[in-house]
């Protein structure tokens, strides 16, 4: 256990170093140096750059004239809200549909679900978002077209998580502001969750089916254990490993997707902020945004690795 943790941390360190090299190259593109370096040597400056990063000085945005780290932290909660809901939707619905599909293997429900999931994972997210807007916002009028909250609500950004902030204003608006925020959140979250949901559903199905073929399941069945208990208790836990692995990839897919989704729904999060920085060539913000988002991805993957090790004792032995 300890050795494999150590190996993970080593990999993590290498990843972070590689990442900072990339963002350092990005920061060099800026016309005005983003930090005051003492050394004139580009390689020595890299180490100074690392020092600045560790001290929390991520440079000053050339367009907003504000600290990049502060800007990032202000925009990040909006993205976290979106990502968290999308990920929850993707994992719960994906798992559920996959289990349902596997337990009705070969039936019409299985076929329909697997065809839809194939359609889901071939769907270009930018087009999917626009289709959903066309159907649910413009034609049916069920959801707002863009933004996080209607203008009539005046919410102080305490935490910058709109769902929490609106609840904190409960005495002013009751639950109306909260519901309005939730209402704005639904369509972007559905857009973002569709592709990962489809992939998780397929993975769950095939992984569960593979496990259900094994000898110990046959033993359990011959002992007269109910089908439901076999799937939920005996099958699922052992099928989780590949699902967890694929979920790590989904985080990276969601991080790509969130940029596009925020662009479509004018969602004031990190993706929209980053795209604006790219189009206005604000390299301080670009390097900060890329760095921060990648750290999030790395942290997520690390957490999933630990979860896999926890769930699968065989992984505790270093290979």
């Amino acid at each position: 256990m300890f050795a494999s943790l150590l190996k993970q941390l080593g990999t993590l360190l290498i990843s972070l170093l590689g990442l900072t090299v990339l963002t350092y190259i990005l920061s060099l593109q800026s016309n005005i140096p983003i930090h005051d370096y003492k050394s004139s040597n580009v390689f020595l400056q890299y180490f100074e750059y690392l020092q600045f990063l560790l001290q929390g000085d991520w440079g000053i945005s050339s367009i907003h004239k504000r600290s990049v780290l502060k800007d990032f932290l202000q925009h990040f909660p909006a993205s976290i809200e979106l990502i968290a809901l999308a990920l929850t939707l993707a994992v719960t619905t994906g798992l559920g549909l996959g289990i349902l599909s596997a337990s009705r293997r070969g039936g019409w429900l299985d076929n329909t679900l697997m065809t839809s999931s194939l359609i889901g994972y071939s769907m270009p997210i930018f087009w999917w978002g626009m289709l959903l807007v066309l159907l649910f916002s413009l034609t049916l009028g069920w959801t707002p077209v863009a933004g996080r909250l209607d203008f009539q609500y005046n919410i102080e950004p305490y935490t910058r998580f709109m769902l929490i902030d609106t609840l904190l204003h409960h005495n002013k608006y009751g639950f109306n502001a909260f519901l309005n925020a939730l209402h704005h959140l639904i369509l972007p979250a559905v857009t973002l969750s569709t592709i990962p949901m489809a992939i998780i559903a397929r993975m769950t199905r095939s992984s569960l089916l593979a496990v259900l073929k094994s000898e110990y399941i046959r033993t359990a069945r011959s002992k007269g254990i109910s089908k439901r208990r076999i799937i939920w208790i005996h099958g699922l836990r052992n099928a989780l490993q590949p699902i967890l692995t694929i979920s790590g990839v989904q985080v990276s897919i969601i991080m790509s997707g969130v940029i596009v989704t925020e662009y479509i729904f004018a969602w004031p999060g990190i993706g929209k902020w980053l795209l604006e920085a790219v189009s206005r060539r604000d390299f301080a913000s670009i390097q900060g945004g890329v760095l921060a988002l990648s750290i999030v991805v790395i942290a997520f993957n690390l957490a999933l690795d630990f979860l896999s090790i926890y769930l699968n004792p065989r992984l505790r032995r270093p290979s």
Partner: protein, 291 residues
């Protein structure tokens, strides 16, 4: 002897592929799209950039207000959508092909060359590849476009760079799997040099894995190129690129939904058919997998 064995395998793979309904449907759609891309300039009724200024936002013919001169209608500048989609098919597929072939050749060469490296260097190289792989692909592409500047050629370079690590990784891991097998040991004892081992013994056995990776790379590349175009970082208007066309249609979703649905359908059908074909090929080449 070896040759006849490979053909037998290929025959078996073809038999499995033929039985896969999805793969057959995918092949037919893909063949049609390829045909459209190849014959697009002859099929297209108009120049894709020509603006019929008195025919702005004409709906497609299935709409009662449609005009038979413009089968799929026109966009906000009065350009014929059918012509733009046909030229777009040509452009998008050309770009995708360029990207995938370049990335595959580069990646396979790096991956194969790493078999000659010393283990420490190889492991360092693979860590770097893992790092690049763990990056969200669009974020990496955006970061690269940010360094070299927006525009079509740069977006293409970015997508190539994003795809290379996948090929390096799969080539390297397939080779190292094969190198541990008995038949390689036998060839080694027979006096085969490392280069000959790779080209004559290992290579034929890793080709299936590479083909599968290659097919799925087509859909990734197509999607990433279109996404960059959509975000305004890739192909620029007035180019008839599917992602850029979608981006231009954003302002007219409500009044002219066809300007948005049609390019989207084109991207979606292409990606779907590639994925269907890819699934079929994977199942056919690896019969041990569950179906």
């Amino acid at each position: 002897m070896r040759k006849s064995l490979v053909t037998a395998n290929q025959k078996a793979a073809w038999v499995i592929y033929k039985q896969n309904k999805g793969a057959l449907i995918g092949s037919v759609i893909l063949a049609l799209i390829l045909l459209m891309a190849l014959t697009g300039p002859w099929l297209a009724p108009y120049d894709p950039a020509h603006q019929f200024s008195n025919k702005v936002l004409v709906p497609p013919i299935w709409n009662s207000a449609g005009d038979f001169d413009y089968f799929f209608g026109t966009d906000d500048l009065g350009r014929d959508l059918l012509s733009r989609l046909l030229y777009g098919a040509r452009l998008s597929l050309q770009l995708t092909l360029t990207v995938v072939v370049t990335a595959a050749i580069t990646g396979i060469i790096i991956g194969a060359a790493s078999a000659f490296l010393n283990p420490t260097l190889r492991s360092l190289l693979m860590r770097i590849m893992d790092l690049l792989l763990s990056f969200p692909s669009l974020l990496l592409a955006i970061a690269i476009v940010a360094i070299i500047g927006p525009g079509l050629p740069n977006a293409i370079y970015a997508v190539i760079i994003v795809l290379i690590p996948q090929f390096v990784r799969i080539t390297q891991s397939a080779i190292s799997d094969e190198l541990n097998k008995d038949y390689v040991m036998a060839a080694k004892l027979d006096g085969a040099k490392r280069f000959r081992l790779l080209t004559h013994h290992v290579w034929p056995n890793i080709v299936p894995a590479l083909i599968v990776q290659l097919t799925f790379s087509f859909s990734t590349a197509l999607l990433d190129i279109a996404a960059l175009g959509f975000l305004g970082l890739g192909a620029q208007p007035p180019m008839a690129e599917w992602g850029t066309m979608l981006s231009e249609s954003r302002a007219f979703i409500q009044f002219a939904p066809w300007t948005m649905t049609l390019p989207g359908v084109a991207i979606f059908l292409t990606v779907l058919s590639i994925n269907l074909v890819g699934d079929g090929i994977r199942d056919a080449l690896d019969p041990r997998l569950n179906r």
